[in-house]
Every structure is written in C-alpha cells, then in structure tokens.
Symmetry: C2
Subunit: 428 residues, 2 copies
C-alpha cells in the first residue's frame, strides 16, 4: 500500500511553514518527500493543498472508557467524588460498556488529531478490540490494585493481555503493566509487578506523586516520597511511564532522571482535581522526557490534546514568571515526539523519512489562523482541535475531510445511549 499526501505545508525549525511538500507513505512508514511524484505509482492520493501537516498528537495518559463518566460528577472533593460517584459506577462496567466507552474516546481523539493514547483501566480486551477497529495507536495496561482482592488475578490478566495483544495490529497496539499507584499497591506487590515486568519484558505505567496527600501519607507510612519508594522497591529497574508527578522534589527529580523515568504531564486534570502544578521546567531541565496527557474525561472533561498543549505552554510561564518557560515549539514537541518516547517509540512523533506514518492535516481557513506568521505558535496558542481535517495512523487514513472512516458514528450514538442507560440505571 502506497499513499501520497500532496502539497502540504510542514513547519520548519522556526515554526514557519513556507513550502508545499509531498509526503509518501509506504506501508506504515513515511518513505519519502518526493518533489515530483509520479501519481500513477500510488494506491491512494490525499490532496492537502493549503493544509498544515503535523505528526499525530500523543495522549500519554488517559482512561479512555471514562468518557462515559463525562459531566457525571464535577467540582467535588476527590474522595467524595471517587467513593460516592466514580467507584459505584465503575463497579458496573463490563466488556460491552468499556468497548463503547473506548470507541467514543477514540472518535473524539481522532476527530481532534490524537493518533496515540496510553491507557490504564479495566476490561482491556474490549479496549484493545475497540482500538483495533478504530485504527488508533495505543499502549494499554490493566489497572492493578495490590490492595484489591483480585490483585493476583488482575496481574495475570495483564500478563495475558500482553501475550495476546502486544505488537498486534501491525504494531499499533502495545501492552504495559498498570500498577495503579503507591497508595493502592503495597511494596511487596510492586516488587511482584516489577518481577513480571522483567520476566516478560513489559514496561510499566503508574500514577505517581499526584497529590500532596499521597506524598504525605507515603512519607508517614514508609519514610520516603513515592518516587524514592518506587526506586527502593526496584520499580525503576524497568522502563516506567509515571503519570502526574505533580509533587516531586529535587531529589525525586534526580532519581527519575538517573533511572530514565518518563513523565505523563496532565495539566488539565491536575488543575481540575486541584492537585497542583507539576514542576515540568525542572523535570525537563534534568533531562526527563515529559509528554502530555488528558487523563480520563471525568477529570478534564475532554480528550483534546490541543487544549492540553495550550495549557502546558501557558501555566508554566505564569508560575515561573518567565514568558519563555515552555515555548510553543516545546509544547508541540511534548505532544508529539516526547509523547511518543513516553510510549516507548523512537521512530514516532516527527515527520521524518523512515519514521512511522502518524500524520494529521490541519485546515488553516478558520479566523483563528489569520494572519499566520508562525504555524507552530498558532497550533499551540490559537488552533482549535476542530481544525484537524485528516488523520493518518500507521499509514492508514482514519479520517479524511473531517469524516471518520473507521467508526460508524450513528451506531456509536445509539450504543453510547444504550450503555449509559445500563451503567447508570438505578444510581442517583
């Protein structure tokens, strides 16, 4: 399968896109930027005239099926929210509900230019099936709570998920182990997870240092910060993607840098849950790879990586009183190449010959794009996720001219209505 995208603009190092280019895709990779392509050579041609081509956006931390909890419970204290709203509803999830909640998330993400996600949740076979169908790239993990009665079976389930799905769909689907957090996974369990990670060569996705309370309790119980505790139990001996890292100190950051821990920064969720603002400047300065994520739709409440890019570029300027803190190009990097590194890819997140072909085309005809002196500035500060026009993942078009190709949106509407009734029937 050979695909040609014609006449797109690609931003240069200075953010300014000045030259129309053609992008050739062979299989799932970018194979050339031909100046004078022979159109008879291609199975499919996408006209990109006037559009901007960017690497697809990478959502490094989310819980996709939680779209079904969107707007169900907002502006609440964390424990009240979890105990009285989220957990009772989560108890009712099943394979069917998670399949459609995931598909809703993929529709929303693809519509907004997100081509990869990283998930940790339940009924992950359903999530994988939905991702396979939607054509989106994703790293999935079974959320593991060591304190739960199903701690052992969930770990086995996660390993089975790895055996069944890792590398599936032409490499699009990858599997990670998902120990939930230090406050739900005691050290012994974390060691068990780490051992499984070593045995099966599975990377880990975990929530770390999200709230002040978590850090305080961890210090009280173990005399160490969550980061130091993870280091102590040997978790960082395997590749780890740590979500949040809002409350990390200089020592924590030094450990994370030394051990190559990658971070999923979720500015919208951290603000909405009043967790705080992660020290992203310090982490990046220490050489830590930081990607961006939306977290679940229940704490955001959308899966819009344009909104997260803008937030990441804005909030760190204000808290550091430095207008150059995270420049537009850095925010875009975090949402693309750095995000791809968080997911374990070293050949994703740039429009580069030989790299994986996850590409989005952006319609620049909106008023928010006028005038356009710098495409990267506008992408980060002024663009709207609805400006995304065409999405290609792993070499295959999944949206063209704003029309989703892999998801039947009428059926999606029907099924979401159906599973929402099932999920909430009888709950207040």
């Amino acid at each position: 399968m050979k695909l040609l995208i014609k006449n797109v603009y690609i931003p240069g190092k200075d953010g300014k896109a000045v030259k129309a280019k053609n992008i050739e895709i062979t299989g799932n990779r970018i194979s050339a930027f031909p100046k004078h392509p022979d159109v008879s050579q291609y199975d499919q041609i996408i006209e990109g005239k006037g559009k901007l081509a960017l690497p697809g956006l990478v959502n490094t931390h989310t819980h996709v099926a939680m779209t079904l909890f969107r707007s169900y419970a907002d502006d609440m204290e964390l424990m009240d929210w979890l105990q009285n709203k989220i957990w009772p509803a989560e108890n009712r999830l099943n394979d069917d509900i998670v399949y459609w909640g995931s598909t809703l998330a993929f529709a929303e993400m693809i519509r907004g230019g997100t081509t990869s996600f990283c998930d940790m949740y339940m009924f992950m076979n359903s999530c994988a099936k939905a991702a396979a169908q939607a054509g989106i790239r994703g790293n999935i993990a079974r959320g593991l709570a060591g304190v739960s009665p199903n701690a052992q079976s969930a770990l086995q389930e996660n390993i089975d998920l790895f055996e069944q799905w890792d590398g599936a769909c032409d490499g699009r689907i990858r599997v990670m182990l998902g120990p939930h957090a230090p406050y739900t996974c005691p050290p012994d369990y974390l060691k068990q997870v780490r051992d499984a990670a070593i045995t099966h060569h599975i990377p880990i996705h975990i929530h770390l240092a999200e709230t002040r309370t978590e850090v305080e309790n961890c210090e009280k119980e173990y005399g160490m910060t969550p980061i130091a505790l993870m280091d102590h139990v040997g978790l960082f001996d395997v590749p780890v993607l740590a979500a949040h890292c809002v409350h990390v100190n200089d020592k924590d950051i030094a450990i994370m840098a030394e051990k190559g821990v990658r971070v999923a920064h979720n500015p919208g969720s951290n603000l909405k849950l009043a967790s705080g603002i992660a020290p992203v400047l310090a982490m990046r300065k220490a050489g830590i790879t930081v990607g961006l994520g939306t977290d679940g739709a229940s704490s955001n409440n959308k899966l819009d990586m344009f909104a997260e890019m803008r937030l990441a570029a804005l909030i760190h300027k204000a808290v550091s009183y430095n207008p150059k803190a995270i420049e537009a190009g850095e925010a875009l990097d975090m949402a693309t190449r750095e995000g791809a590194k968080c997911l374990g890819y070293d050949d994703l997140g740039e429009l580069r010959e030989g790299w994986l072909a996850d590409i989005i085309l952006i319609d620049r005809s909106g008023f928010n794009w006028k005038p356009d002196f710098n495409d990267v500035s506008i992408t980060v500060y002024a663009a709207n996720s609805r400006d995304v026009d065409t999405v290609i993942i792993n070499g295959k078009p999944v949206m063209i001219n704003k029309e989703l190709l892999t998801i039947d949106t009428e059926r999606l509407d029907f099924e979401v209505n159906r599973v929402v009734k099932e999920l909430y029937g009888g709950l207040e």
Copy 2:
C-alpha cells in the same frame, strides 16, 4: 420585529437542562417563553431542536484590531516584545487597517459565541463602524497615554467618540474613557480623565496591577500600590472597569470592593505574558464583580471565551488546592451576567423575560457532549467554541447554522491579506 426560537434546552440552577422551551424576542429583548406559541405571529422562526440556549458570552477586555498581530511575536520578554515588535507595527495602524482587524475579531468572536466585547485601542471610529456592521455589542474606548505627546488630543478624541457613538445602534455601542495604565498616565492626567468622566458621565476602562514590576515601580514612585494610587487620585469616584488586577493585596481588594470597581480577569493573557494568576477567589469573596476577557489576540492568541471560561474554572482550583474553587456555574456566570455587569448592564447576561436578547444556541452533537449529564459542566469543561451554532445579538440573528450573516467572509479574507501586507511591509 418578533422572533421565535423554538424547542431549545435551557440549563436550570443545577446545570441540567431537561425541558425544551421556546424563546420569544420582541425588538431587542426577550419578551416571553411561550408554551404554545402561535407561529403565525412571528416575523422569523429559528428551529432550535436539541440545541442548548445560553446567554451570549461577554469578553470584558480585549484590543480587537490586535488580531492582526496574531502569531507575529510570541514567547518573548514583555519589553522586547512591545518595543521591538508590537509598537513598531502599531505605529503603522490606520483607519482602514483597524476596520479590517476589528472585523476579523468580530467574525472570530461571533463564530465562538461571544456577543459583547469591551475594547480599548486606537482608530476607534473604525472599530465602532466595524461593530455596527457586524452587529456585535461593544463598549469601546480610545486608549489614552498621559505620557504621550497626543495625551490631550486623544482625550478629546475619546470624548468626541462618546458624543458620536454612545448609545448608537439601538444601544449596542457604548463608549468608555480609556486611560491606559498608571505607568503611562501620571496622576495629573488621570485626574483630568476622571473630571471628564464626571462631566460627561462616561465610565472608565483601565489596565491595573497587571505585573509585579508595575506594582513595584508604582510603590517606588508614589509610595502606593496602583489601586491605592487610583483611589488617591479619585479615579474610583466614577464607574471603573479594571483589567487584570493580578497583583492586588488585601487592602487593594478592600478598596476595590468599597468603590465598586469591576474586574476583567484575563487568565490566558496573564499566563502567556507570565504576569501571574489573579486572586479571583479573594476578589469574588469580597463581593467584587469579576468578568472574563481574552485580552488582545497578540497575547492569547485567540478570542475564544470558551477557552477562557475553562481556564478560569481550572487554574484557581489548583492554586487554592480546592476542587470547588470556581465551579462550572460560576465560570459561566463570570462569562455572562458578571461580564455584562462589567460593561455596565443590569439587564444582560441571563435568559430572562425583559432582558436584552443576546442568545447563543449550542449544537450538542459532538463527541465531547456525550454523555451529557450536566450542560453547564460540559459548556465550561468540555465544549468547543465551534459547537456554537446560532448567535443572536440585541434581538437580531448574526449567525445561523454556523453561517455568519453580517460579515462577508470572502471579502474579509481578501481585505485581511491586503492590510497585513500594508502593515508589515518592510518590517522584519
């Protein structure tokens, strides 16, 4: 002229919209919510089936023609940005350029559900003409710099603007006096502006306490904070809308509350320029009216009140570690009724019988609206400005089904390209 909007949903106090309603508009006001309207009685009927009706959004602080500086210069130190980029370009503005820059802003704002703006800038006759044509509601002021050679003529220009435009277009256009800021307007000049405000009954729009540097310099020069200085020169004896108020202390807040100073909070701009985060919770607790604004497109870089609502709801939660800090309904209030109060209206910003008919209809068919348990939550946290479908200002439709009715968008494209060439020709 009688208009009927049929079958829309209006959110109740709890944010949940459950009942379809009809809205009747007579002239420029909401005249009834008829249960069984006689359709033969109306000059125009807008079908709103399934759509959400909200009061139009009020942008309480912007510089509309600065759309022409969008993406021209970002991620720079404030003085470098102003001296080397913005001011040289601003020197080239003229009536024609400001007319089209303003029209671009109105197109963007109406497209995104903003029905009122509050501007302070130059060539304001052109801004007023553009607003008159676009059908948008606006308070306009001539920016006044007391330190400038044109200080006296600009003040006279602002008074002339008031005589010519205040109350024009069926009351849509209002005029304010626009002393720029304490650091550009010495006390004697501010007294002169205040005297003019008293003589002609004109309210004032001013930038106050935007940066730490401004406050420090003011304290050095006058031994007072900017707020205390304004109080001292008697500026607060007339109605004042103060933009920013990022660096105000408890004493300042007490003065502002006592004097009825209203505040335009610009979260996006304050973050982008690394000014800081305004103490909105303390100001609101003191009873101060706080609206939301985008500031100019050069420091935002879009005029999207949905983005500002979300930011306002999010950032104050994190800095106060309180997930209930600004709830969704409060953010929506700030963007509607509170914003209208900032502009001097007490009959705008709610869908209420007898109140002015600035109404937006929102298309809830996007994935970001599913599921929809709470329309206000989704409006603030998950909605996209592109969800706005229909806009009515002062009783007149200016956008129906996403089509602008008062602005020729093809001509706008052409003219914006033309004036941008004129504005930047020869500049680096």
